[in-house]
């Protein structure tokens, strides 16, 4: 028995010694790395930066301290080293535990004891290493007094995958003001998730037209199904300034494109028609023709034929291209030939061009 116990304690002591040596070695490695990073020799610093990745979470806070200490080249090197740690942690084949440890370490750099540049860097790196667990620390920065830091926190949430960041943005929207409010609305549009609908729909009731237009655009990017439209508000186009009408027309076009991509053909076609009603700008008309022709050539042919006679060169040319891409059938050929005699010279040229393109395609096939 004593022999067995003795053997056991020896093994424990050996393991403890080995672990201590390992930790001690790692700590020594870290100190050595930090020393090289702060070297007066540029080549030594550059080499340390290049090797920073594997130093991992343990190096993050010390690097943040160097970055915040206004140490010239050493501080710059520390910021770069942080980037490399983030990159290494996110490599294919890296462990989730390692990545989470690094991300958690970055959240410590959000503390006010670190300077603004370091905190912004941490936020940026959290958008490529963070997850639901890191979101609460980022949300806290949304309340910072510095508007740049608030916005960097918003950017971080916008880029961080997962449901927690999306929820954080929707939760923050009602209280947000000024540019941050618009930025959060835009972020929700970029995320493209219908879970943001309620927050955005509420924003369409804002008294600020810019907020309303931003919210409508975000909903368009999400591709809100038509059945939701009774729950949102939109300004009467007649009440808008010219530039705002164009923006609203663009928003409706974007929505129509998204609905077309979702296979909602009828909604898309309605959207293209509505866009042109809102704004008669020629580029809106061109976009409507292009979009509608992709969704339903049959329902767009007549409009394209009329557009061949449009006063504006870009519209005529767009109509011609749309017809060329549609390809020929008997009724379209007949319609073009029928339009030719009464057409102006520029329209006649386009009719001939379309017919030639169709003929060339036919010959090739």
């Amino acid at each position: 028995m004593p022999g067995t116990l003795n053997s056991f304690f020896c093994r424990v002591a050996t393991v403890t010694l080995l672990v201590s040596l390992h930790l001690g070695t790692r700590a020594a490695d870290l100190q050595e790395f930090l020393g090289r990073l702060q070297s007066d020799t540029g080549a030594t610093r550059a080499e340390a930066v290049a090797q920073a990745g594997a130093m991992g979470a343990a190096a993050v806070v010390p690097l943040g301290e160097i970055a915040s200490a206004n140490k010239g080249n050493a501080s710059i090197a520390a910021l770069w080293a942080l980037r490399n740690i983030a990159a290494y942690a996110g490599r294919p084949g890296g462990t989730a535990a390692e990545k989470q440890a690094v991300a958690q370490a970055f959240t410590q750099l959000l503390d006010v004891r670190f300077n603004k540049i370091t905190r912004c860097q941490a936020l940026d790196l959290l958008s490529i290493t963070g997850d639901d667990q890191t979101v609460p620390r980022v949300v806290a920065v949304l309340s910072d007094s510095d508007p740049d830091l608030k916005d960097e926190a918003r950017r971080c949430l916008e880029g961080t995958p997962g449901p927690a960041s999306l929820k954080a943005l929707t939760d923050a929207l009602p209280q947000a003001e000024g540019r941050l409010r618009i930025a959060i609305i835009n972020a929700l549009g970029q995320r493209g998730d219908m879970k943001a609908f309620d927050a955005l729909a509420a924003a369409t009731s804002a008294s600020d037209t810019e907020v309303v237009l931003a919210a409508l655009d975000a909903l368009a990017r999400i591709g809100m199904p038509a059945e939701y439209r009774d729950r949102i508000k939109a300004p009467d186009p007649e009440s808008l300034k010219d530039a705002q009408r164009v923006r609203l027309g663009n928003t409706v076009l974007r929505w129509a494109d998204r609905r077309a991509a979702a296979g909602a053909t009828d909604e898309a076609l309605e959207g293209y028609g509505l866009a042109v009603q809102i704004s008669t700008a020629e580029h809106v008309l061109c976009a409507a023709l292009i979009g509608a022709a992709k969704v339903s050539p049959e329902q767009t042919v007549e409009h394209a034929l009329r557009a061949l006679a449009h006063e504006q060169n870009t519209v005529r040319m767009t109509a011609a291209r749309v017809l060329e891409q549609m390809g020929a059938d008997d009724s379209r050929i007949k319609a073009l030939l029928g339009a030719y005699p009464g057409a102006k010279p520029e329209t006649r040229d386009l009719i001939l061009r379309v017919l030639k393109t169709w003929n060339d395609k036919h010959v090739t096939q």
């Binding site: 916005d151 300004p235 557009a307 006063e311 060169n313 520029e346």
Partner: protein, 442 residues
């Protein structure tokens, strides 16, 4: 989408009444629109609005001013008051008057601007181009097209959605030498090409001046625009933004947009996309500039198989010694010979054998641009795609961006050109886009 006063049924009813069209699909062309005042036709002079009038912006302004047969400048916008004043002076030298704006959005609202000439820092290119398309303008935008893959794709989509003409300022493709080299190689004069090497001088190091308050003439918040916040530093702003990864991306993105543009053009490989990208290079040893002074990137392409190298500095081929502008360029190795093209921007040159080559009548035809601005203005009228259209520019920028991404992450990337995603690398895919600062987004 509808307003509180606009139910779907009421909208369709209004449309039907207005146009006499049948119920179901509203008329796309309201009657009044057919009689609207016209945009430039074949013989109308094109009116330009210039966003960003320092550096290359000043060059474009002078060019337009000196070529009144091509276009007329009617408006300028810049966030730097000094540059705006200089622009007004430049135009006044030849009696041209233009409206001046600090906020480019006011310029975009002008109905008498047909095309925007965009020469702002790279991080603004996507937002400016997309917003210009959304305002109905055609666009000439400086290179590189964009800073991220997502930006490039959004620019392509905006051009397609509105049928706009977009020319990116990689003018090397419009040089005669690029045409000759393209014709020579595409007609098989050196056989199948399996290797292309681009050489270019190194990134600068340095810039250790302190951060300060911005100068009074510069609206720094507007200069930053969609770029992640950083303190003002004169070594990171006008002109020098090129040497920081996020704003300029170094030589590979700034100048690769020229040299690799010519390479893709000569190889007729805009639509191909790389299969793998691997970058090597040590970080700078001092200063705030972030891009590796020396860098090597290897791009492999499949079907057809070939390899492209970006070598910084690389080695200038002996064939380039007698060519103009030979501090950078590209060399092509085929089964039966080689060809060297020096430069890649305005001073592109190539070997005599290519210049003297005439393609056979039924050989491969290569598009020949009259001159980069002229090509753009011609295409505004014909609505054909210009030589450095946004699709091609996005393909070039993709190489530049992925080269930097591989370096930044310290690993090889496998690229799926069809989906525009990195295979098996979630973190890399997160970095193909970046949220815009403040209210600016694509």
């Amino acid at each position: 989408m509808t307003s509180t006063t606009f139910s779907r049924r009421r909208f369709l009813a209004r449309a039907a009444l207005a146009t006499g069209a049948s119920f179901g699909f509203p008329c796309l062309i309201p009657p009044g629109v057919l009689a609207a005042p016209g945009r430039p036709g074949a013989n109308d002079r094109i009116r330009t609005g210039h966003i960003g009038v320092g550096g290359m912006g000043g060059y474009h302004l002078s060019f337009i001013r000196d070529h009144p047969g091509l276009a007329t400048c009617v408006a300028v916008a810049d966030v730097d008051k000094n540059r705006l004043a200089n622009a007004a002076k430049t135009l006044a030298e030849k009696g041209v008057q233009a409206k001046q704006f600090s906020d480019f959005r006011e310029l975009l609202e002008l109905k008498d601007v047909d095309a925007c000439i965009i020469a702002t820092p790279d991080h603004w290119h996507a937002v400016h181009t997309i917003m210009a398309c959304e305002a109905g303008k055609d666009v000439y935008c400086e290179k590189p097209a964009c800073c991220t893959i997502a930006e490039g794709r959004a620019m392509v989509n905006a051009g397609k959605r509105y049928g706009r003409i977009i020319q990116i300022g990689s003018q090397g493709r419009s040089q005669s030498a690029a045409y000759y080299a393209g014709s020579y190689i595409r007609n098989g004069k050196i056989g199948r090409v399996n290797k292309v090497a681009c050489w270019h001088y190194e990134n600068p190091q340095g810039a250790q001046g302190p951060d300060t308050d911005p100068p009074p003439e510069l609206d720094y918040d507007a200069w930053l625009g969609p770029l992640r916040w950083r303190p003002y530093n004169k070594d990171a702003t006008h002109g020098n933004f090129r040497w920081l990864l996020e704003s300029g991306g170094g030589q590979i993105r700034d100048r690769g947009a020229h040299v690799m543009s010519v390479a893709l053009f000569v190889m007729d490989a805009d639509a191909q996309g790389p299969a793998t990208i691997e970058a090597k290079g040590l970080p700078p040893e001092m200063g705030r500039y972030e891009c590796p002074p020396k860098m090597e990137v290897t791009y492999t392409f499949k079907q057809p198989d070939w390899t492209l190298y970006w070598l910084q500095p690389g080695e200038r081929p002996t064939e380039a010694e007698d060519l103009g502008n030979n501090k950078y360029g590209s060399k092509y190795w085929g089964e039966t010979g080689t060809l060297t093209v020096s430069g890649g921007d305005g001073g592109t040159d190539t070997e005599k054998k290519a210049k003297e080559y005439h393609a056979p009548i039924h050989g491969v035809k290569v598009y020949r641009s009259p001159e980069h601005h002229e090509d753009f203005f011609n295409c505004m009228r014909t609505r054909e795609q210009p030589i450095m259209n946004i699709q091609a520019a996005h393909a070039v920028a993709t190489l530049c961006i992925l080269g930097n991404l591989s370096w930044r992450l310290g690993r090889r990337l496998e690229w799926d050109a069809a989906t525009e995603k990195v295979t098996g690398d979630d973190q890399a895919n997160l970095m193909l886009a970046r949220p815009g600062r403040s209210i600016w987004h694509i």
